[in-house]
């Protein structure tokens, strides 16, 4: 049952009508691509389909997001002073991007320290009200690790080039990375803000052997649901059966019906 409390007003603008389009985290029909440079000490140029698209891309930097037409793109990395992409240091590799998806292409080291690249798909599905998503990706030349949040293990035994994720209440978490089964952090602890409606992606990159392990962060807008209810009464004092509100609301409802009747009569 619903009614407008305004005489003659069309009630129901806030009714569940199934017409409201869900908020889109990615532009409709497009693909969203970000690029993370996770190879230490190696500035590069990024060639996409043969064109120098990201010039002098520095390690630790994140490019994008770019809204791209879905399709397959050929990506090659060259030394930053290369004339063209004829002698890539990595690639060319084909990245196939589908519509309405979010991706991060990461140039990084594999577990043995060799340069490689991976295309990760960012989960942009809706989160629950009050929650954000935390994704962790191991793209470092390092053994498998445990990810800690606020002093306890959140993700266990994450290996290069894998990812783990989960939805958590929005807030600030003290994050740390240890080797699997150990407690001493090899990275962190550092504060990580997980915002509501955001997929916060944390990367461990660099090389344990070269002592340049680091964390990288990327925020991808997703969408969180509205609260499931607004329960804003607790004692029954406003019960329409016992409250003077009844008369007021009833009168207003009658006026509203009269207004509706008038509109129908004019048709």
């Amino acid at each position: 049952m619903r009614k407008s409390l305004i005489a003659g007003a069309a009630a129901g603008t806030l009714l569940a009508a199934g017409l409201a389009a869900p908020a889109l985290a990615v532009e409709d029909g497009m693909s969203e691509l970000s690029v993370l440079h996770g190879i230490p000490d190696t500035p590069v140029d990024v060639y996409v389909n043969g064109e120098n698209t990201i010039d002098d891309f520095e390690p630790g930097d994140l490019a994008g997001p770019l809204d791209l037409e879905p399709g397959t793109y050929s990506v090659a990395l060259t030394a930053a002073d290369a004339e063209d992409d004829s002698e890539p240091v990595l690639g060319p590799i084909d990245l196939t991007l589908e519509a309405d998806m979010s991706y991060t292409a990461v140039a990084h080291l594999d577990a043995d320290g060799m340069a490689t690249a991976n295309l990760f798909t960012n989960d942009i599905s809706e989160a629950a009200a009050g929650e954000g998503r935390l994704t962790v990706r191991h793209v470092a030349a390092a053994p498998a690790v445990d990810i800690w949040a606020d002093g306890s293990v959140l993700f266990e035994n994450l290996a290069n080039p894998d990812e783990m994720m989960g939805d958590v209440p929005a807030g600030t978490y003290e994050a740390a990375v240890s080797l699997t089964g150990e407690t001493d952090p090899v990275l962190g602890p550092t504060d990580v803000d997980v915002s509501e409606g955001v997929n916060t992606i944390v990367y461990a990159w660099g090389s344990a052997e070269d002592d340049n392990l680091a964390l990288a962060m990327q925020m991808v807008d997703i969408h969180s649901a509205a609260p499931t209810a607004v329960e804003a009464g607790q004692y029954g004092f406003a019960d329409e059966g016992t409250s003077p509100l009844t008369a007021v609301a009833g009168a207003l409802a009658l006026l509203g019906l009269a207004g509706l009747g008038l509109r129908f009569a004019r048709r």
């Binding site: 007003a9 569940a16 994008g64 997001p65 929005a170 607790q234 409250s243 609301a249």
Partner: protein, 240 residues
């Protein structure tokens, strides 16, 4: 929070424009080399940062035909280091007033209960602003402020909400000292099973203030009222 997707209105084909730019800058570099610069100079040009805005920015490059095509936005690049991430500060609402109903209440930020319902301040004399949605100061989307209709002492200020009239003035003061003035455009009482909370909590669209409380029949068994009273107001003035 509430970083909105940064979609440019003209972002339909950034890729094409980006490639176009690459082609254009290639022409510029070629022209420069043909202009008789030394080998060292040419390599400087090769290493020069990509121009970011318009061709009119002072530059060692001759203005070739770059103006034939709008210069493209550079691929946005930022540091991924945790310490370099921007914190988004929101100017939070601290009070809400409806003078015609003699309502003037403090507002506190609230989130969600474990069951997913919006958190509501225990005291019906306090209103809660849904901190995971837009703030009034953001001037976009629905800022939702809710309060219990009653407390052990009886009806709270929001118990008077159903009597609000269209055009009534609502003001919201924020922590930063600003004040926003709204006019009521709609008052509805809707069964909680039917109310579209995704519309109530819409994050996009015009800047509206949504005041929510409860109404209708008291369901003593559930300990809840059957209806939500939802007052919609649109911003009419921005008094800094």
């Amino acid at each position: 929070m509430n970083a909105k997707p940064q979609h440019r209105p003209d972002a339909r084909s950034p890729w094409r424009r980006m490639l176009g730019f690459v082609v254009t800058s290639g022409l510029v570099v070629s022209g420069c080399v043909a202009g008789g610069m030394s080998g060292a100079g040419a390599s400087d040009v090769d290493a020069a940062p990509v121009p970011t805005t318009s061709p009119s920015v002072s530059s060692p490059l001759p203005a070739v035909s770059a103006s034939a095509r709008p210069v493209v936005d550079e691929v946005p690049i930022r540091s991924s280091a945790p310490d370099d991430q921007e914190k988004i500060e929101v100017d939070e609402p601290v009070s809400v007033a409806v003078p015609s109903l003699n309502i003037d209440m403090p507002v506190v930020p609230v989130g969600v209960e474990p069951d997913g319902a919006m958190e509501i301040p225990e005291d019906a004399g306090d209103a809660g602003w849904y901190k995971f949605g837009p703030a009034p100061s953001e001037l976009q989307g629905n800022a939702v402020i809710a309060a219990h209709v009653d407390s052990p002492q009886g009806l709270g200020p929001f118990g008077r909400l159903p009597g609000v009239t269209v055009g009534a003035v609502v003001t919201v003061a924020s922590a930063g000292g600003g004040s926003l003035t709204y006019e009521v455009t709609d008052v509805e009482q809707t069964d909680k099973n039917e109310v579209d909370l995704s519309a109530v909590f819409a994050e996009d669209g015009p800047a509206q203030l949504i005041l929510v409380t409860c109404g209708g029949n008291w369901d003593a068994g559930r300990g809840h009222y059957d209806d939500n009273v939802v007052v919609t107001a649109t911003v009419v003035d921005d008094v800094p």
